[in-house]
Amino acid sequence: MSGFRILVGCKRVIDYAVKVRVKPDKTGVVTEGVKHSMNPFDEIAVEEAVRMKEKKLASEIIAVSCGPQQCQETLRTALAMGVDRAIHVITEPKEYESMQPIHVSKILSKIATEEKADLVIVGKQAIDDDCNQTGQMTASLLDWPQATFASKIEKSNGDLSVMREIDGGLETIKVKVPAVLTSDLRLNEPRYATLPNIMKAKKKPLVTKKPSDYGVDITPRQEIVSVEDPPVRQAGQKVESVEELVTKLKEAGLV
């Protein structure tokens, strides 16, 4: 039985450890000269695909990233982790600022059809916009089943058995392939790319395409009105007893 063809989405975001600063004109955050890396949840998605290939469940893994020229670094990391080839859908930096999950999911679904993918795995959300939409929208556009917030993926008789992390606890569902999966934090621990693999990755195929190659229009559909720092946390008050707490609550008009 031949393995799955897996498409993995990798977004280039500001590194998780960087302290984000809002631009003085309040139109966004400072990205110039700031360290960027692959979205951590996408790293987990790539790792899952690579593990499936190692277990011979998958036959080919293709990584996709949409954005400016620097996205190729993100794709090189994916290639170094074990992905077979990469597709870079290039956009102007200005266009990238207004790019939304709706645009990305249209592109991903077109690529999935073209590449005859069996699985599309993406991170559950990006740590910069926290949209949590791309996976779900892609599934809808492809009319494929989706298993989101996956913390465990297992093969069961040609279908997939996926354990999901939901508010109430853990839920296990069965999905038929082809399907879209989104990875949650506890799905796996991504590997660190070794230098030899990074060197080898330079020889793996990476093609550059444009959104128009897939017939996708990336004109912005939203306008960012303003970006501000979150409000400074007010200092709390310590109380000595339950009675005092009740009095204070009554004073504040909350009880």
Partner: protein, 76 residues
């Protein structure tokens, strides 16, 4: 004798070291220089094993740091 593969992998990992790349690079260089005249095969093997151990420790450090930050940010 400097094992270039081990050395370059350690330096690559050291780029994200919390105390800074320069700190890591200097300590790494000192460690390799200290042992450069050793010719006993057994000892060399042991030192290389120790170097690989440091590699694994670094990877574990970075992984834990990332996991804990994300867990705090998204799950609490």
């Amino acid at each position: 004798m400097s094992n270039p593969k081990l050395r370059s992998q350690l330096l690559y990992l050291g780029k994200e070291y919390p105390k800074g790349y320069t700190y890591f690079r200097d300590r790494c260089k000192t460690a390799f220089m200290k042992n450069k005249d050793i010719t006993d095969e057994e000892e060399i093997k042991m030192l290389i094993a120790r170097g690989k151990f440091v590699e694994k420790e670094l990877e574990a450090l970075y992984m834990l740091r990332k996991y804990r930050t994300l867990k705090k940010r998204y799950y609490e």
